[in-house]
Amino acid sequence: MKVSLNIIKQLTRVKLGNNELLTRINSRLAEVEDAENLADKYKDILVAEIIEAKPHPDADKLGVYVIDNGIKKIQVVAGDKTLKVGNKVAHIAPGLTVPATFYDDEPFVLKKVKLRGLDSNGMLGSAKELDFGDDHDKVLKLDTDKPAGTTLVEAYELDDLIIDIENKTLTHRPDCFGMIGFAREVAGIQDLQFTSPSWFLETVKTPKSNNSLKLSVNNEVLKVCPTYLAVALSDVTIKQSPIQLMTYLSRVGVRPINNIVDMTNYYMVMTGQPMHAFDYDKVNNANITVRYPKKGEKLTLLDGKEIEIHKKAVTICDDKGPIALGGVMGGANSEINNDTKNIVIECANFDMYSIRATSMKHGIFSDAATRFMRGQSPALCEKVLSEALSHPADTGGAKVASKIIGDSSTQKTQEISVKYEKINNLLGADMASEEQKRRLTNVEIITSGNKVVVPYWRRDLNIWQDVAEEISRLSGYDNIKATLPTRDIKAVDIDGLEVVKQKIRSLLSSAGANELLTYSGVSHKLMEKVNLNIKPLYRIRNSISPDLEFMRASLLPSLMDKIHLNHKRGYGEMALFEIGKTHSKDLIGEDLLPVELERLSFVFSADDKTAVAHYGGDAFYQVKTYLEYLFSSLGIDEYNFVEEKDVKISYVNGLFTPKRRAKIMIDDNSLGVVGEFTHRARKGLKLPDFSAGFEIDLKTLTSLRDKSRSYYPLPRFPGTEHDITFETPREVSFEQVRTQFEKNIIDDELIMSIWPIDIYQKYVDSPTSNITLRLSLANKEKTMSSEEINKIVDRAVKTTEKKLSLKRI
């Protein structure tokens, strides 16, 4: 919304300089988005008088004029032949910028030119070029009394500061969408008393009507249109508004149209109350009905767009059908034009919710709708309409030809009981009640004792906290001292999951891995590439891009999607991880919301060159190594990698190739899946062969973590190490060998550990492999003899050989 400081100054004193005022508005009223000095764009444009006029000898449409611009008499050629000697015009001299283009990327700066052979010194401005209106066909004839040579700025009060306000900061303030309301606040934030124009406070008597035109109104939807007033005017002359009025409208962003529309818009700009003018003779039977539309009813709007009216939209109708979309936009069928003789002026109040719904449904955000959406007071209608009718000159000398038809709803005066001490307590301030009251009185909120009387235009004041906001805002939040609250010294509970997440971040980043954050949304295409089902995914219905259409049920595809581009950047190998939430339609919580799973996803990838140079085996083990590193660092010692044939068990199973995929188990709890990706996924995302990943559930991990910490006393006596190699058939897994062997050694007296040294296979399809384990052994109580040791080892080896059909070699 644009605010004109000149208009504000007509309503209140402004004692601050422009910069201070803007700062003050920012800190106590609303966010200033932008401010411009209007005079800049009219700099050096002069009022000039035509002293000679003749047609162009070589061009039908051009006129040749000698003008006196107060400095000199010069010739200008214009695309308008109708100017006469004595007319005043705006002369934009060579070297000046056409005002309408002032803020364009490439402003139009005039040069002295020849037009069809004749010299033209600059331009005589049209309404459009001067940014006063839309007319581009003729030169704007100025209606000023000021002599030639006067600056245009002086002639039309263009030395103005235009302040652009962020609407969002005034969502709750319908009154501030009118200059009177804004000016009231400008007074308030300067600690000045504001007084509204008397007609704004009291109801002005309606001018006498000659009752020459009949008019009737039926309001069938009082709930969403609490007030609908209409009045008929006769003997209307439609013409251009006085230029001063045009500039007032155009400088705050409202397009001047003609004297009638401009008059209604002027009152809207001043009060926030929109009005609408119909051509009386186009309102069938002069009978207006306010109602919901009948099924399928259509209306062509003023902007030429045809709509099928939404069933909940308040519709203004005559006896034939709709003539306006109430509170939003008029219809083309009842539009006033130059031939209009009689008009109906509507001044009505519409429910903000209803207007919002209509605006949204039809995608129309007109000046009127913007104001009604803030919830204007119905009490405004009568006052504004009466005031408008009491200035016949503004309506082109029209005669009031009917009574004001329609009922005003009465608005009960609201009172709030306020304890000024309480306000101080809420703010942490120490403001005398007199000062608090003065701040309110300044903006015409009447106080009496502990009561505050809410003015009709303030629909945002309902509870004493609202009054507290008013007082603290008007007196300046910067005057409130920052203090620290006192609190108990109770220790804060630390969330275990949060601790685990932080640890994992540290552990993985210390292990050369990079943490990524990727979008929560994934595309259908990505899911297709990795062959994951989109059925359990929540679809976002207003996604800005297909890339974010579905809420992900796994973080892995998003991570995998980042591998290729980093290889391309020259990273030969990488370990990437992300910690985040996933959602699936298959998991709904007790609160009926989707359960949010907390996941850790990890991928490792090495391009072919790096893989050959640095990694001998399969990517699966590389990722598994990271997982085991995490487990041991988090104090989880007991876990298993288990084959899982059923793809359906876990959503991410489908990402992994079945022959190189394992379920991660801690006791009976499944933690997640680790594996190498399917050929399809690798191809789809251009991943190298040496790539793998895992995804685990962090809530499960957290819940299992605390249980499994254990401590082994340090050995006091020297131990020994033995390497043992078993020839192992294909069907027997490494883990079977290790656990079986370990089981046969375990003894309360012993401290031992076993770790893998080597796995050897003669050729790829060998029926057996040789697994070498290193056993380290010590006794808690004594130094063992080599015989004792050999006995233990041999016994364990024998039992292992027997149980698993192995052979020690």
């Binding site: 920012n26 709750h172 942490g428 301030a429 370990a575 079977q736």
Partner: protein
């Protein structure tokens, strides 16, 4: 027409069989069957061509799909089964065994790193931490926060919504109602989380970003306490005194409602850089209706709440020029944050 359809159906049957039988299934795409169909196309009257052409193409796409599935199957079948319990592959020399990468390549994401930092400061100040949800309902996004149904103030939040009507939170305030129910009075909680707005992305705007919400409810909590708490946080975060100012703002869930701005700290300024103010959060005294919604008596208790924008702070702290880097997954960017 039916004759032509039959032609296609026959060819389809024939070729599907071939996909299964032929070793090089892909060769049928270049084979005579499809070629003949295309030939037939040109002999048809113009009016029939479009439809017949579409049918041939859909057959071709169907075959391509089948061939791909078959090829993938073949490739999968060639994969050697691993012993998933083993620590490494067979025959791997010691220097090529699996191992973790060196620490200097690792990195934490700057956003999560700074979130940890922010959380840590608030924990030290006595706040609990509760992460916010990423899919929520209308009640927590709006209704519990004193946004009446259909209220125009809802339009100020360009929310994403799922087909079921679930909302991707546009602010972490969605958690206010939950934590005030969950924790005993006095309530002191910060709620970091991911938030979403339906907004076009450029160097300073993202549709996905992070906020840290905070609430403090107790007897006698004042607006001055809010300012003091926030200043204390920022001074701890930036490690120096800060200058702040406030601007009135409308949020239905606070009264009074403010925007909180800080002056760019000296330490972060480049030589000769002029002073600038940054909006870092919205804040205010919790609206009585929001307290009533969780059965806290607003006559006895008062509180404040805020929503801190994380990206902007992090960009300020490190001088990051483009907000899009955060979600880019680009290692050139990420590896700078240790």
């Amino acid at each position: 027409m039916s004759q032509k359809n039959n032609d296609i159906d026959d060819v389809r049957k024939e070729l599907k069989k071939k996909v299964n039988e032929l070793e090089d299934a892909r060769s049928i795409l270049r084979g005579p069957e499809l070629r003949d169909l295309f030939k037939k196309l040109s002999s048809l009257p113009t009016s029939d061509r479009a439809k017949f052409g579409q049918e041939i193409n859909s057959l071709k796409n169907e075959l391509i799909g089948l061939i791909q599935v078959k090829e993938e199957k073949t490739l999968e079948s060639e994969i050697i089964t691993l012993d998933i319990t083993a620590p490494f592959s067979a025959n791997v020399p010691e220097d090529k065994k699996p191992r973790i990468l060196s620490a200097e390549r690792g990195s934490k994401h700057p956003i999560s790193m700074e979130l940890e930092n922010i959380k840590d400061i608030f924990v030290r100040m006595g706040f609990n931490v509760e992460e916010s949800r990423q899919l929520d309902d209308d009640y927590h996004m709006f209704t519990s926060l004193n946004f009446p149904k259909d209220h125009p103030a809802r339009d100020d939040y360009d929310t994403f919504m799922t087909e079921e009507g679930l909302i991707l939170p546009a602010h972490t305030s969605t958690m206010q109602n939950r934590v005030m129910k969950k924790y005993q009075l006095p309530v002191r909680v910060v709620m970091p989380g991911r938030t979403f707005r339906n907004e076009d992305v450029d160097t300073t705007h993202e549709h996905t970003f992070h906020q840290v919400e905070g609430v403090y409810v107790d007897k006698g909590v004042t607006l001055g306490d809010m300012l003091g708490t926030l200043v204390a946080f920022f001074e701890e975060y930036f490690g120096q005194q800060i200058e702040y100012k406030t601007q009135p703002f409308f949020f239905p869930f606070v009264e009074p409602g403010l925007e909180f701005l800080i002056k760019k700290p000296e330490a972060l300024k480049k030589p000769g850089e002029s002073e600038s103010w940054m909006e870092v959060m919205g804040c205010g005294m919790i609206h009585p209706n929001v307290l009533k919604e969780v059965n806290i008596n607003p006559d006895k208790y008062s509180g404040f709440a805020w929503g801190l924008g994380v990206e902007r702070m992090v960009m300020l702290k490190y001088g990051i020029e483009d907000i899009r880097h955060f979600m880019s997954g680009n290692l050139d960017f990420l590896r700078q944050f240790k």
